[in-house]
């Protein structure tokens, strides 16, 4: 009798234990990633909950206790800063990118090259100084001797690269600085103009596992391994990203 009554109780207990012991699913994983990774990350793994934004904003959110498990930034600065504070594991580089100048397809500002912007009087979309795309753009302009174009053109400062691309694609800006991968996603509406190689800043994406209470550690590790896998590297390459040597 006791034996018979005990059966459902054991089953319930086993179920509860099973639940607590099971690894958290990918859907429980919170990935905070740079806006420029939106298309490729959701293609590589659609399961996690994503928060795409400017890397500096994401870093700030994580520092303030946001429930991120993985952080992927568009420059080493944010991920390394978080690592130095003990907020994430040692970041690894998993992709690279480069900057292009984008103009609307009909090019109303008649922008032929980045040096066309010297004449001034155009509407220009760039990232804010704190967001990686904004920092990279300023480095590039310095190396080209074109910092002054930020004074001689009407500049709209955007919080992330997606906003820059939208502005140019919609024709609200005559030109903008974006990653080549973002330009590809709207190639029907914008034209990408190459920038001199010597002036290109090294755009490196880094990824790390966030350190906090209640983290989905196994899910985070699995996601980072997936992003560094051969199939993900193929997807990144297909999306136009560059790849660091495998290591």
């Amino acid at each position: 009798m006791i034996h018979r009554l005990a059966r459902p109780a054991f089953a319930t207990l086993a179920f509860v234990i099973g639940l607590s012991a099971a690894p958290a699913s990918a859907a429980d994983l919170n990935v905070y990633a740079a806006a420029s990774l939106r298309d490729v990350f959701t293609r590589i793994d659609p399961a996690p909950k994503y928060n795409f934004a400017g890397s500096n904003q994401l870093q700030l959110q994580i520092e303030r206790g946001a429930p991120a498990d993985v952080f992927a930034s568009a420059s080493s600065q944010e991920a390394q800063a978080l690592f130095k504070q003990g907020g994430c594991t040692r970041p690894v580089t998993f992709a690279t990118n480069k900057l292009v100048l984008i103009v609307p397809k009909d090019n109303p500002g008649s922008v032929r090259s980045v040096f066309s912007l010297r004449s001034g009087g155009r509407k220009l979309a760039i990232g804010t100084a704190g967001v990686p795309i904004g920092g990279y753009t300023r480095v590039l302009l310095k190396r080209l001797g074109l910092s002054r174009i930020l004074q001689t053109n009407t500049v709209s400062e955007e919080a992330n690269v997606s906003s820059i691309v939208s502005k140019v694609a919609l024709g609200s800006a005559d030109a903008g600085f974006a990653y080549v991968t973002d330009a590809r996603t709207v190639s029907d509406r914008v034209k990408a103009i190459r920038l001199p190689r010597y002036a290109q800043p090294p755009v490196r994406y880094q990824i790390c596992q966030v350190i906090r209470n209640g983290i989905n550690a196994s899910g985070a590790r699995a996601f980072i391994a997936k992003i560094r896998s051969n199939s993900a590297r193929r997807a990144l390459r297909a999306a136009g990203f560059g790849l660091p040597p495998k290591g």
């Binding site: 480069k98 040096f115 310095k142 080209l144 001797g145 010597y198 090294p202 755009v203």
Partner: protein, 215 residues
Amino acid sequence: MCGGWIEYGEEHAQVIEIDRGDFLRLGVGGLLAGAVVPATAGAQLAKPAPQDDDIAFLSFATVAERASRDFYRAAAKAKATGFTPGERSHLRRVIAAKSTHIVRLDGALGADAPLTEDFVTVLPEGAVKTKARSLALGGQLEALLVSVYLNGVSYAVDAGTRLLLGRLLAYDAQALTWLRLRGGKASPAGLASSIDLEAAAGKLDGFLSTPAFPD
């Protein structure tokens, strides 16, 4: 010592073994350009503190000097080019000098220095296969540098940066003269022209590759 080359240390002039023939071949302009640097080298030199767009000239220079050094390395290494032992020895000295110049440029740029391990120099197929081709390509690179330095000494805001660009101009003008003379060309009769960074960037891009980045 080959071909009337003028050598000088970073702080003290060492003008070496120039005979009358060398003097005439190099041309008075080239010699004076070389002599200006040693003359000022003993004095306290203004250190570069680049301002505004001065960084553009230095950034271009550090990448282009690396491309130029890579050319000299390839030329010095190539077996069948027909360079004499003396000429090879000269090429090696230029490699050493350019390495020093790159360190100076990177020092002037500080945190703004490009991560040049990201760049790989791509020389055209067969560029150092013969002496003539080597001299032509080397001359192309040195002429590019000289033209950009001329632009830089005209427009750089900071005096220390201008001085560094001027010293590099003097050195590379000599290197260019050496290459031209070895190629059987006469010293240029006119004055060198400057080139703006837009045109220069287009020329330099042909020698650069960034394998870890999208192309």
